[in-house]
Symmetry: C2
Subunit: 305 residues, 2 copies
Amino acid sequence: MDVRGGGPGTRETDLLDPRNLVDRVHAVVLGGGSAFGLAAADGVMDGLLDDGIGWPMGEPGRVVPIVPAAILFDLGRGGTWGHRPRAEDGRAAYASASTDAVEQGCVGAGTGAKVGGFKGGIGSASVVLASGTTVAALVVVNAVGSAVDPTTGLPYAVGLGLGDELAHVSAPSADELAESHARAEAQPESAGRPGLATTIGVIATDATLTKAQCQKASGVGHDGLARALKPVHTLFDGDTLFTLATGDRPAPDPVEQTLLMEAGADCVARAVVHALLAATSVDRSAAGGVALRSWSDAFPSAIRG
Amino acid sequence: MDVRGGGPGTRETDLLDPRNLVDRVHAVVLGGGSAFGLAAADGVMDGLLDDGIGWPMGEPGRVVPIVPAAILFDLGRGGTWGHRPRAEDGRAAYASASTDAVEQGCVGAGTGAKVGGFKGGIGSASVVLASGTTVAALVVVNAVGSAVDPTTGLPYAVGLGLGDELAHVSAPSADELAESHARAEAQPESAGRPGLATTIGVIATDATLTKAQCQKASGVGHDGLARALKPVHTLFDGDTLFTLATGDRPAPDPVEQTLLMEAGADCVARAVVHALLAATSVDRSAAGGVALRSWSDAFPSAIRG
């Protein structure tokens, strides 16, 4: 785990220090709801406990699930100010966990996410390295900064797409770009008020990594955020990344580890782009929330096919 | 905040990094129940929210309470294995918070605490420095190590008592000491199995300290634990200390800050002694818990008056 933002909201992160004992986590919770959302981890812990999954405490069924968590700041954007994940929502998320492809966009922790002036959300990306090792990232993009180059309207990290991954994305028309700038300038100043951001995510690999290597990979992962978001890691973002290693494949040598970490950073950056593309416009102003346009709706000319 | 133990269980600690934005906390939760006990902070947050206390988010009543928390590992010692603080217990603790003298011994987070072979619990100590600044510590003593010198039977830190604070404590009789050693040797090996420890606490002062100074004071506070517990900071202890400064009095110069931090460490050590003295023997074996004798019951000859 590595925190690079100035306003993090976290739980069970001190035990991830490589000096400390626990070397296995049983779930990672990414949630909205600001610090209140940390309650979702209670429900995930209860679900794991019922399934007997956790750090063994000596007797069968007696386990303590290790569930690090990070939240993002989105209060009020999901509807009324009081809307936030609670323990039962964590429990429900645990119950519906699967190995299916991750749903992207305005779901889960991405529900109230915002990035710059656009709707944010969840994005995911992965790669299989030449060594056969898989690296992936899931990121919930909710940043003070923007994921979009103001000069071109393109996502900052669009150039990191693999093969034809992002070939359908081009620069929007000059008219759309001008309209978007005009709209941003007309926003009330309060729309940019601090305290309502934070991008959080998880990098995962099937390689075998030590805790210290996971920590290092999380730090390099933040470089992916730096390439995809600007500014990033502000005092009003609590940007936090976790790295998980399943240990199914061999431990990398230092060169392989470097490639793996850079792949993780690229997955993070690509995941930010996918979050931006998958997000859909929402209007929750009637419920006391906010209206946010998606990048895709702002720039229909930028998407082919 | 400073974590020196190898098995911490914490919440909202990353925001305490001096580099990060938030410079004020609204409560600190110390709980039992291992990682499950972190749920107590949910209830404290809810109570603070209802009272409008928290980090302001722009509009009246819209606050995010900043509630760092640390837990200790005591599952099964408070009765059945499932006994642990939940959100509603945190809420109740918040409702009953007062400025009265802190109850010491086997209450709150001290309910299931154990230190070496004796019952552990909550202890507190304070001092007013020559400058007029007050420093205090509250510690929940629950350690793999012992608070008692095996040669003499005396608490390690008994010599740090101020004036006649600990004058009523003397070395136990040779008979009592021998009986205690024999009893410890007869304990089944499982009684010492790791994973069931962690000493947590708070140092507080009315001086004005920066976040970085609070972090430094927490680190020096751990020296107080080192003087009062042996071994300490093991891989099976998640020893964590917080430092709070109310800011009612001036900021110290470097010499004053050094005196303040050392006073904090001494308060921590004295608090450990008070926890040991205030603890009472418990027998929860009928409910599936454990029986633990207090130091006072083991060594009646050591207490005068």
